[in-house]
């Protein structure tokens, strides 16, 4: 049933979406949405949606209350909005609106004009689904189709001449009963795995990790909206690599040298063991400040990339975060090694403001 309020609600949500789209860059560079993530939705703070009017500044107004307590006792609870000097920007009032992750992904997609991803390997994996489409003469009572049962009884009574239009009583018998029945359908399933790799050597500071964190939140959001079944693996490396959980991935701080090949090797092993490339869409993302330990290791990286990781993956993404210590050499090496190869996407992220363009670079190919 369509409720009277639905069009107005929809309109409100449209406006909310519009506001989020307008401020997307701001939300992305601040990274404030990540902390507000619930299970399936994000609580987005929206300025300027309230309708303004002439009203009193609450702080100065005070008022009358009720209850015990001496003069000067704090009322606790409610926080005051800032004083008059805080009000230089119109509409500082903030309303929080819940937006589902799918919606957020859609907004991101619209804003960045991201193409939908064509999953590969859809033919090879199938899952089954039950659909209640048919009618059967046997079945459990819980699935009995009331209307069809009576229809059947009516038909039978008319045929046998037991139906009296003056006194239309219809009594279904056991044979009249009809039940909903299901069919098992086989549907192709698209699986994807995201493998995040991050350099956690001494040269990657907190700001660099924050950038990686924000970037991966949005990558997650977009890719989740594109695949039904998505897995995530996190790999950190300095001179050696290991698989960790998401929390460790974003919070750990190590020091030491950098051997990128260790991460690539581990990624290769993870894929071999868990995610056969014929059945999985594979998205490795590697973030580093571009410092690697010696040319030998770099050439090892290139050979793993060209022989395993790149042929297996939909795209291989390398994001280079600028840090005060890193030389930034690795991206140049990659560029040299694979000129014009569209399976490899490179992006340099110098500051938070560039996350948006970097997302566009990574996801803009629709692969």
């Amino acid at each position: 049933m369509v409720r009277r309020v639905d069009p107005d609600s929809r309109r409100f949500r449209d406006i909310v979406r519009g506001k989020i789209r307008d401020n997307l860059k701001h939300y992305i560079s601040r990274g404030e949405l990540i902390a507000r993530q619930g299970k399936n939705s994000v609580s987005v703070p929206l300025p300027q949606i309230d309708i303004p009017n002439f009203r009193f500044g609450k702080t100065e107004q005070g008022g009358v209350g009720q209850g015990p307590g001496g003069e000067g006792a704090s009322l606790g609870g409610e926080e005051a909005d800032g004083g008059p000097e805080a009000g230089d920007q119109p509409g500082e009032h903030v309303l929080e609106v819940d937006v589902t992750l799918e919606e957020l992904a859609e907004i991101l997609g619209e804003e960045l004009e991201l193409p939908r991803i064509e999953p590969k390997g859809t033919e090879s994996v199938h899952t089954t689904k039950e659909r209640y489409t048919g009618i059967n003469s046997t079945g459990p009572e819980s699935l009995r189709h009331f209307k069809r049962t009576f229809k059947q009884a009516l038909k039978r009574q008319i045929q046998t001449g037991n139906y009296d239009p003056e006194n239309p009583i219809i009594i279904p018998t056991r044979e009249d009963r009809r039940y909903r029945s299901w069919k098992t359908l086989s549907v192709p399933q698209s699986n994807a795995v995201i493998i995040y790799m991050m350099d956690v050597s001494g040269s990657m500071g907190n700001e660099q990790k924050e950038i990686v964190r924000i970037e991966s939140f949005w990558l997650d959001t977009w890719l989740k909206s594109q695949y039904e079944n998505i897995e995530t693996r996190y790999i950190i490396h300095d001179a050696a690599a290991r698989v960790v959980d998401a929390h460790t991935f974003f919070h750990i701080r190590e020091s030491g040298g950098t051997k990128i090949s260790s991460a690539y090797k581990l990624a290769k092993e993870v894929i071999e063991k868990e995610f056969p490339p014929s059945e999985w869409n594979i998205y490795p993302f590697h973030f580093s400040d571009g410092d690697n330990w010696g040319g030998d290791d770099t050439s090892l990286c290139m050979s793993i990339l060209s022989e395993q990781l790149m042929p297996w993956s939909n795209i291989f993404c390398y994001g280079q975060v600028k840090s005060a210590y890193g030389s930034g050499q690795f991206i140049k090496d990659l560029r040299e090694a694979f000129p014009g190869d569209d399976r490899l996407i490179l992006s340099e992220i110098n500051s938070r403001d560039e996350i948006l363009t970097s997302l566009k670079t990574f996801l803009g190919k629709g692969k």
């Binding site: 309109r11 409100f12 009358v64 009720q66 009322l75």
Partner: protein
């Protein structure tokens, strides 16, 4: 499946019972039509201010989402919703237990009696359901013709100004216009008053400097009269409808917003009284008549929930019901009048009882002629303040918290009256529609110690500009200084006035 909204036979039986008690107690109400709704229907009706037939606008969708969210998190639940119309419509939540339904019914009969008899409701449109539906039809027609966004945005602009009405205007008829004749007389009198005297005394009885000064004043007054508007006008919406360069459909929408704002204003003017009165009666009817023994605990739980207080917020239900009870008690025992007021013997006052027995009669009278301001002004007593532990609070800059400021009777009363004045909104009037002689609009905020929220004020000026389409100026006080906030269509300006 569509569910029936009519009462179940059992509830209908209860309704008759409760209605009977209400009539016995002397309540005289508009007949009440109860409907049963689910929580989302309830939230929907509430988000339209009780009128699901209102014009479409996303603001209602926003309110609905907020109510839904707060209901699903268990933060709030609307128990009762009653509409001031004749007959009165009231909504019951389908999921409520029987005892709650009884309580709500008794409460609603209280409201309906108040709607019918309180003077401040006497000018409201009792066919508002039809009127809002008509408004909606008009708005939809404008949307069809001029496009959703265009109309929607204009409504938003109007809503931003919707509180710029004069809530008292309906009770004093149209502006008392001076007749042309008397204006003419004044025009003739600008030469100042001369006293009759002998010629040689002329210079002393009618000194020329005084006459000159008087003439100057008169001329100034005259100039003032020819200004536009002649007198400062608080019904800014009316001024805009009559004078702003609007297209016909825009004028129509502004008129709709204004009509609805006036309809809702009395509810703001009598919040404490109205809720107090309804609570008084649900309590009276339930505890003396309708309550079954098995329901006492649930009733007490619900009632105390309604009467609960939080620091920093005055619960109108609680203050209202207690003031009505206090009045009843005082008029029953004769604790009023000069003799009682003059008595300063604590003990004599406490035991005062003249057995006047006028309480019931008095509260019926009070519900007829008072509004919140006059109600508080007249019946809030020192004793009541002490007993109810009322206090004033203020913002403390050092701790960043609200703290209790005072428990002094006068301070409490002043603060309370202040917060009720003009429905708790700033009083702003338009006093020049041709400011600087270039068609700008000049508004003045009557400053009584509480400054405006500046960011909102600026955004509202922008909206005002969209209607007036020439510069708009607002005189107010900021940080203790008189300032003129201006918006000329592209830029905000702020000027300190001498």
């Amino acid at each position: 499946m569509f569910e029936q909204r009519t009462l179940t036979p059992r509830l209908e039986e209860l309704r008759r019972e409760i209605r009977g008690y209400a009539v016995e107690y002397g309540l005289d109400f508009f007949e009440v039509i109860f409907e049963m709704v689910d929580y989302d229907e309830m939230n929907m009706i509430a988000s339209y201010g009780g009128f699901p037939t209102r014009y479409p606008h996303w603001r209602f969708g926003m309110q609905f989402e907020e109510l839904q969210k707060s209901y699903s998190y268990g933060l709030s639940k609307i128990y009762e919703l009653v509409i001031n119309t004749d007959p009165c419509y009231a909504y019951l939540m389908r999921s409520n237990p029987e005892v709650d339904q009884k309580l709500v019914m008794a409460h609603v009969y209280g409201h309906s009696d108040f709607f019918k008899h309180n003077y401040w409701f006497s000018k409201t449109n009792r066919q508002m359901v039809d009127t809002t539906a008509n408004h909606a039809v008009k708005v939809r027609r404008h949307i069809d013709r001029y496009g959703l966004e265009e109309v929607e945005q204009f409504i938003e602009v109007c809503l931003s100004l919707e509180n710029m009405i004069d809530p008292h205007a309906p009770y004093f008829g149209e502006y008392s216009k001076q007749s042309e004749e008397s204006l003419e007389e004044e025009r003739l009198a600008i030469h100042g008053t001369k006293f009759k005297t002998k010629p040689f005394m002329e210079e002393f009885v009618n000194p020329p400097e005084v006459l000159k000064e008087e003439r100057r004043k008169r001329l100034k007054e005259l100039e003032r009269e020819e200004r536009f508007p002649a007198k400062p006008q608080r019904d800014v919406l009316k001024f805009l409808i009559e004078n702003a360069p609007l297209r016909r459909w825009q004028r129509d929408i502004l008129q709709i917003i204004r009509d609805e704002a006036y309809y809702f204003a009395p509810q703001g003017m009598t919040k404490i009284m109205n809720e107090g009165w309804a609570s008084y009666w649900h309590s009276k009817i339930m505890t003396t008549r309708a309550l079954e023994a098995s329901e006492v605990i649930d009733y007490a739980d619900h009632h105390s929930g309604t009467m609960g207080t939080r620091p920093g917020v005055l619960n109108p239900y609680k203050v209202g019901i207690e003031l009505f009870r206090d009045i009843e008690e005082r008029w029953n025992t004769g604790r009023f009048g000069p003799e009682y007021d003059a008595c300063d013997d604590y003990r004599a006052r406490r035991e005062w009882n003249r057995e006047t027995g006028l309480g019931r009669e008095k509260i019926f009278e009070v519900r007829k002629i008072y509004n919140d301001i006059t109600f508080i002004d007249e019946f809030l007593t020192q004793d009541f303040c002490d007993r109810s532990e009322l206090f004033t609070y203020k913002f403390d800059r050092h701790s960043g918290n609200y703290v209790i400021e005072s428990r002094e009777f006068k301070a409490i009363k002043d603060k309370l009256l202040d917060s009720l004045a003009n429905l708790g909104r700033p009083i702003i009037h338009v006093d020049d529609g041709n400011f600087k002689n270039r068609g700008d609009m000049h508004l003045t905020h009557e400053y009584h110690g509480v400054p405006l929220k500046l960011d909102y004020a600026r955004a509202t000026l922008e909206n005002l500009h969209r209607i007036w389409s020439r510069g708009v100026h607002l005189e107010t006080q900021v940080d203790g200084k008189k300032k003129l906030l201006s918006f000329n269509g592209s830029r905000h300006e702020e000027k300190v006035l001498g």
